[in-house]
């Protein structure tokens, strides 16, 4: 079974504080992991994917296969980071599993 768990439905931090959004997954093969973000009144958009190993808007995420986790981190949160964040999984390239499986999302609020 392919499953993504985001244990926190809501997360509230103050501006300038570090933020970590948790994501755990279950998948029998090699996964590709993604973080998607949805800002207010905007469409779902890709924030980052683990194979890119890049930092977007100051966010980073490391795939930990031992702990089956892909937590999203930012050292200093900004008010514009307030949004709904979804962790998603897809089977690795070369297989026949094309679908994205999403977690239920974490609503991040950054307070001034």
């Amino acid at each position: 079974a392919q499953r993504v768990t985001q244990p926190e439905k809501l997360l509230s931090v103050f501006k300038g504080a570090p933020v970590e959004l948790k994501c755990n997954y279950s998948y029998s093969g090699s996964p590709e992991l993604f973080w998607y973000v949805q800002y207010s009144r905007q469409r779902l958009q890709l924030l980052l994917r683990h194979i890119s190993r890049e930092s977007i808007k100051g966010f980073t995420a490391d795939l930990n296969k031992g702990e089956t986790s892909f937590h999203l981190k930012k050292p200093f949160a900004q008010e514009e980071d307030s949004a709904m964040y979804y962790c998603a999984l897809r089977g690795a390239s070369g297989g026949s599993n094309y679908k994205l499986t999403f977690g239920k999302g974490t609503l991040l609020t950054v307070n001034p």
Binding site: R43, S96, N97, L100, F102, G103, K104, G105
Partner: protein
């Protein structure tokens, strides 16, 4: 490029009716996926179309069907609507197996 577009934006139907939702992929994309997002949940994969055929299907009943046209646009059809079909329906497009999926703004379906 307007990106992925979907129509209509909103739709209200009654139980037992049938509905057709439409999606135009991002320019250059040949693959379309459909997702259902119920309130408070992450998107759930319905199916994916590639080369005008259903390539993978999620755990949805046969009442959900689709089609992809030669210009890569796609339709999602839902027959015998149930109250539980009320949701935001998202379309995503990509090119090639490993490409990122880009999402449209969604169609909000309300079944009364």
């Amino acid at each position: 490029d307007a990106g992925v577009t979907q129509s209509p934006t909103h739709l209200i139907k009654t139980r037992g009716q049938q509905v057709t939702l439409r999606c135009s992929p991002k320019s250059g994309h040949d693959t379309v996926s459909w997702y259902q997002q119920a309130l408070g949940q992450g998107p759930q994969f319905i199916f994916q179309y590639y080369e005008e055929e259903e390539r993978q299907r999620g755990n949805f009943p046969d009442r959900f069907s689709g089609h992809q046209f030669p210009n890569y646009s796609s339709e999602l059809n839902v027959n015998a609507l149930l109250l539980g079909d009320s949701a935001l329906y998202l379309c995503a497009s990509n090119w090639g197996r490993a490409d990122t999926q880009y999402f449209g703004p969604g169609t909000r379906l309300t079944v009364l």
